[in-house]
């Protein structure tokens, strides 16, 4: 990440990353599938938080209620590292390749959420729609949160964004 900030993502070669890490380029590729993956290694944690929240929601909870709980869990996981997230997001936003990777990670999260919903016997299409809607809220709220210079509380932002979305769709 230091190198990506110093010289930009594209201008940084894998050889340089490897050198600074004290390993070989070949070894780098044994740890990361490609140059981009460095910035997305932590996404498994988020996925677990989302799916476990959905799985642990009360049996009576509606799909969107389960998604709302998942978003709270996500806010708890993400909300602790504002400075880090800003730095990381700055790198990603500056590079189309990285934005691609981020979007597919988000899509992976949506798919995981949809799977967790189907495990609760939510019908397939509804599960997909609820999960995708949840990810939209997550993205927008996170984007808002990251764009504020000072660390704020992510949880209320997430909840507000969700109610915003329902309000918009109802008109």
């Amino acid at each position: 990440m230091d190198l990506y900030v110093e010289r930009g993502f594209e201008q940084t070669t894998v050889a340089e990353i490897a050198q600074r890490a004290g390993v070989t380029a070949r070894t780098f590729f044994r740890h990361y599938a490609d140059k981009r993956e460095v910035l997305f290694a932590g996404s498994a944690d988020l996925r677990n938080a989302l799916t476990q929240a959905i799985a642990g929601a009360p049996a009576t909870a509606s799909p969107m209620r389960a998604v709302a709980l998942a978003l709270d869990a996500a806010a708890a996981v993400l909300g602790r590292r504002h400075a880090f997230s800003r730095r990381r997001q700055g790198i990603i936003d500056a590079n189309p390749e990285l934005r691609e990777r981020e979007l597919i990670k988000m899509d992976t999260l949506a798919a995981a959420m949809a799977g967790a919903l189907r495990d609760r016997d939510v019908p397939g299409p509804a599960a997909t729609l609820a999960a995708e809607a949840g990810i939209v809220v997550l993205r927008v709220a996170f984007e808002r949160w990251v764009s504020t210079p000072h660390p704020t509380d992510l949880t209320p932002l997430m909840r507000e964004t969700l109610t915003d979305l329902t309000a918009i769709l109802d008109r």
Copy 2:
């Protein structure tokens, strides 16, 4: 596309594509930014359809009503090439790199729609949420449509998916 079907996307080299097209590899890169872009050249049409529909919506229409009109327009554009879309989507779904590119194209569409909404004086965050929700509907409906072997009518599918989403969010 023939080559991508014959040997798979990754196994196809740009040199082979260029040779079959009767040009040089260097020339290929003058027409397409990279190997993936071949499959996404037509996305500008869709973007225009979406933004023009939003711009042309009645001044009294709510943001979501404008988005609904845009989805109708998208259905009209996309709905005519079922066989082609199936073939193309089969290639994309089989390859993570292409799925990345598809997602970023969708994101571009969402950004364009959000911009068209802001031009109607919809506040920024609401515009983003409405546009992203619209793209979710577009994606899910298109996925449903493409997964049916026989050509069906995309427009009603798109409308049903939108009402499905609002119903899910309201619970």
